[in-house]
């Protein structure tokens, strides 16, 4: 079975600082990988996804992620964090084939942003 590990439960950064959220997955083949963001009490919003091609993917809100097969990682980055980025971030791997993919989520990383 696939699994996703987000080693950092809670991260605090200062506004304007750079950010990297870690994600490691276990999967035999090339995975479908996703990053979602969730504000308190809200739904899940897709930030970006990877399923093939360029290993550096750009997403919304200035986020990017890099797929590294050798490290089984898909870390999320942002060069300059804004206070509005404070939220819970979930890394997920899609388990399935073709267009069908149920998502296996990591435990999440809660991001706090200091002014």
């Amino acid at each position: 079975a696939q699994s996703v590990t987000q080693p950092d439960i809670h991260i605090t950064v200062s506004e304007g600082a750079s950010l990297e959220l870690r994600c490691n997955y276990s999967y035999g083949a090339t995975p479908y990988l996703f990053w979602y963001v969730q504000s308190p009490g809200q739904g899940l919003q897709l930030l970006l996804k990877y399923f093939s091609g360029d290993t550096l993917v750009q997403g919304i809100k200035g986020f990017e992620a890099e797929f590294k097969r050798s490290q089984s990682s898909f870390n999320l980055r942002k060069p300059s964090v804004h206070w509005s980025d404070a939220a819970e971030y979930f890394c997920a791997v899609g388990e399935g084939a073709g267009g069908y993919n149920k998502l296996i989520f990591g435990a999440g990383t809660r991001l706090a942003v200091h002014p």
Partner: protein
Amino acid sequence: AAGVIQSPRHLIKEKRETATLKCYPIPRHDTVYWYQQGPGQDPQFLISFYEKMQSDKGSIPDRFSAQQFSDYHSELNMSSLELGDSALYFCASNWAAGGSSYNEQFFGPGTRLTVL
């Protein structure tokens, strides 16, 4: 653009009662997924439907059942509710028949179920 609609948004039930959650996928999406997110937890896959047939099953209790109707909306039925069923229930949809390029799941806002 149309989004995934879930109703109700909030639901309060007593133990041992039943609850029905509804999900209306984005038009032309053929697959619906249900996830359960407990307090402070990550979302857990419950069940999915493709073209009105159950396509996959996760950690869904036997007390829960679900179906997808001819108009593609889906309902999650929960019986003999327990305190531990209190959670945020998400529905997501996508166009699975479109292939891997269309595998992004669009999530609804969720239904917050509280069992007292």
